[in-house]
Subunit: 401 residues, 2 copies
């Protein structure tokens, strides 16, 4: 029943999770609730934006040709035909020799093609003295300068941050088509695990992985569904696993750091579906399982917290991004110099936790059962499978977390 | 009544918002809901973590001295006294010449001080052949190797990401003391603004700032409270402003791109409290107001979307981070080379939107009334007040958004 641990390279593991990722059905949310969601359809401008020529300064709308040669000494003199009120149409068109006052953002009257800033003018009775010439188009925002009607404004697969939300508001997209939020089942296994609320006896540890994984899932735009700690009992695990597969869009099982436990998880996945990958050439995190039950992706994570976290960052992240529909997930990578030598065997990708400070990445070595290196680090460096390690002073890329 | 626009440098504006920031009263949340929140108290280990010496491999617990000189040719032979079950105490201590099987994560029996990996052993009846010597402490995680009882685990002011959540779970901190979530009032003003659901007439534009600001507020761990669009009417604005100040921990008013409107917002803040700064040496975003009504911070943002967004990123972000209690907010800055010359007048900080691609930052110039440069860019570069611009090829720091 034991499934052989044939390790595959990290890129192959990533390709596998991308292949099995499915996003939930689309839904429609209002703009208030759309922040952080991912667009499920292209959004186009419903009209020209801003929709009318408008001034970008407080000043006088003019025909540029009426201001040619104007200066402090010999200003141009134009008849003022009133003012445009914000949000209203212009009271009249302007003809040669005429001008209308326009506050910032107001409509440019028909006939005008430039605005002279109020600082460069002087009122004189019903007329205005223009002391600086205006070029055609000066201080004017054209009616379709932001977007023209039917222009693609934002593409499907775009995650919506503040600026995209503003953009959707501008084109009147209040009912936003977004991908559904994936529900990710989180199961911890292990007879040594006790719930967080319990004081562990000797031999027991609290289940830290469930909540760590759940928080990671949430940070990546998915909703965790917790199934708690399941004992290493085949029937109990099968029942919980089946329930999670039925209720969730993907399932993450953590635990099974010993060989017996790993084998049980793998054989259960085989019983209910298919193990695609069992073992990844990554350290820490080698005993990772990628599989599916029906069309539901299932990942078996190592039980050691630091191992589980690295697999979340290096592998599961790609699954979650794909399941949310995010076509261009943000990645935070910054260059740094390594503070000391880091050895690494050829043939596996090593993920070394680092503390990045003022451009220097200091490795934090520690056993993968420890949590303190995770909270003391702020990122990780990757040593490729083909490398035998890095030397002090080497330029590295830190993936921030 | 007009308040003079005396511009201050950006660092002074940041100092001002930090001075007026207050965080709401603390609250307690469960671990499930603690992701993204900020710790309001130091958290210490309630016991040694992991709490007992444990093995990090599947193997045989031994006294290291019993394995000295062991090898393939002449293995050490030890009597096997059973196995430790996961989550249970060891069945017996081990004495010289004895061994107990331990699965990964299990308790190390009393008397043992190392573990030999199962791969380097062979069972022979009731005895095990040890084919590789083990050093003292080898493959063992000590009972306080992660944290000792009363060690500071996480400090007040720490924002809780997945790894911190795992850490809190490990120390049994299920009731997490966090800072309250600030409620940020969002008001848009301007007679030209119509709600998102309306089709604008000539002279009108949709209110894109409210939702953009609200989404930004949410991305920074606060909850927006929307007050909609208020017409440029002193009484209407005063009523809404008063309500927002009473109901929120801070208020952001956007709009007032024309001088009249700016003056009205400033004079209202003066009426109900104090204008601290009116005008910042930043472009875009100069006509920004920083003030307070009672102890409630109030920021008047420019009406142009791109200006408002830059002020959110450069100034308001600091206010929101401080109000959430976040002592070490994440900043995403990456180095890049500039693709072309960018001029900038001395004496003001210019914030130029850029598209960062493969280490090259391409400036996206555009009027501050436009939204398209915001959604086409993925960050901003800052040209300091003392600089007269940057040349093509210059090394710049891109603040990603």
């Amino acid at each position: 029943m034991s499934i052989f641990l044939k390790v595959v390279p990290v890129p192959e593991a990533i390709a596998a999770v991308l292949r099995i990722a499915r996003h939930p059905v689309n839904e429609t949310v209002t703009l208030e609730g759309a922040g952080g969601r991912v667009l499920a359809e292209d959004v186009r401008a419903d009209a020209d934006i801003p929709g009318f020529d408008r001034t970008v300064v407080d000043g006088f709308a003019v025909r540029a040709s009426d201001t040619t040669g104007a200066g402090e000494a010999i200003p141009a003199m134009l008849r003022v035909k009133g003012r445009v009120e914000m949000g209203s149409a212009a009271p009249a068109p302007i003809r040669p020799g005429e001008s209308i006052y326009v506050p910032t953002g107001a409509v440019l009257p028909v006939g005008a093609n430039a605005v002279v800033m109020v600082e460069n003018t002087e009122m004189a009775g019903g007329e205005v003295l223009i002391k600086k010439p205006a070029a055609h188009g000066e201080n004017v925002l054209l009616h379709d300068e932001d977007f023209s009607r039917t222009d693609l404004v934002l593409a499907r697969g775009r995650r919506l941050f503040a600026q995209e939300i503003g953009m959707l508001a501008a084109v009147g997209c209040n009912n936003v088509p977004v991908f559904g939020i994936p529900i990710i089942g989180v199961i911890s296994t292990g007879n040594e695990l006790v719930p967080v609320t319990r004081v562990p006896d000797s031999g027991q540890v609290r289940d830290s992985n469930s909540f760590m994984i759940g928080a990671f899932v949430r940070e990546h735009g998915c909703t965790p569904k917790y199934y708690g700690v399941v004992r290493d009992d085949r029937n109990a695990l099968r029942a919980t696993f089946r329930r999670a597969v039925a209720e969730c869009n993907a399932v993450l099982i953590s635990g099974g750091s010993s060989k017996d436990e790993r084998d049980m998880a793998a054989s259960l996945i085989t019983e209910l579906g298919e193990v695609i990958i069992h073992g990844i050439a990554i350290a820490p995190g080698k005993p990772t399982i990628i599989g599916r039950a029906g069309t539901t992706p299932v990942i078996g994570l190592p039980g050691h917290p630091a191992s589980a976290f690295i697999v979340l960052v290096a592998i599961v992240r790609h699954l979650l991004n794909a399941m949310t529909g995010d076509a261009h997930p943000r990645e935070m990578r910054v260059p740094a110099r390594l503070s000391q030598n880091v050895p690494s065997p050829k043939g596996r990708e090593d993920y070394v936790r680092v503390r990045l400070d003022a451009g220097v990445a200091t490795p934090l070595f520690g056993k993968s059962g420890l949590l303190n290196t995770l909270v003391k680090s702020n990122g990780v460096i990757r040593i490729p499978a083909e490398s035998e390690g890095l030397e002090a002073g080497a330029e590295v890329e830190v993936w921030l977390w």
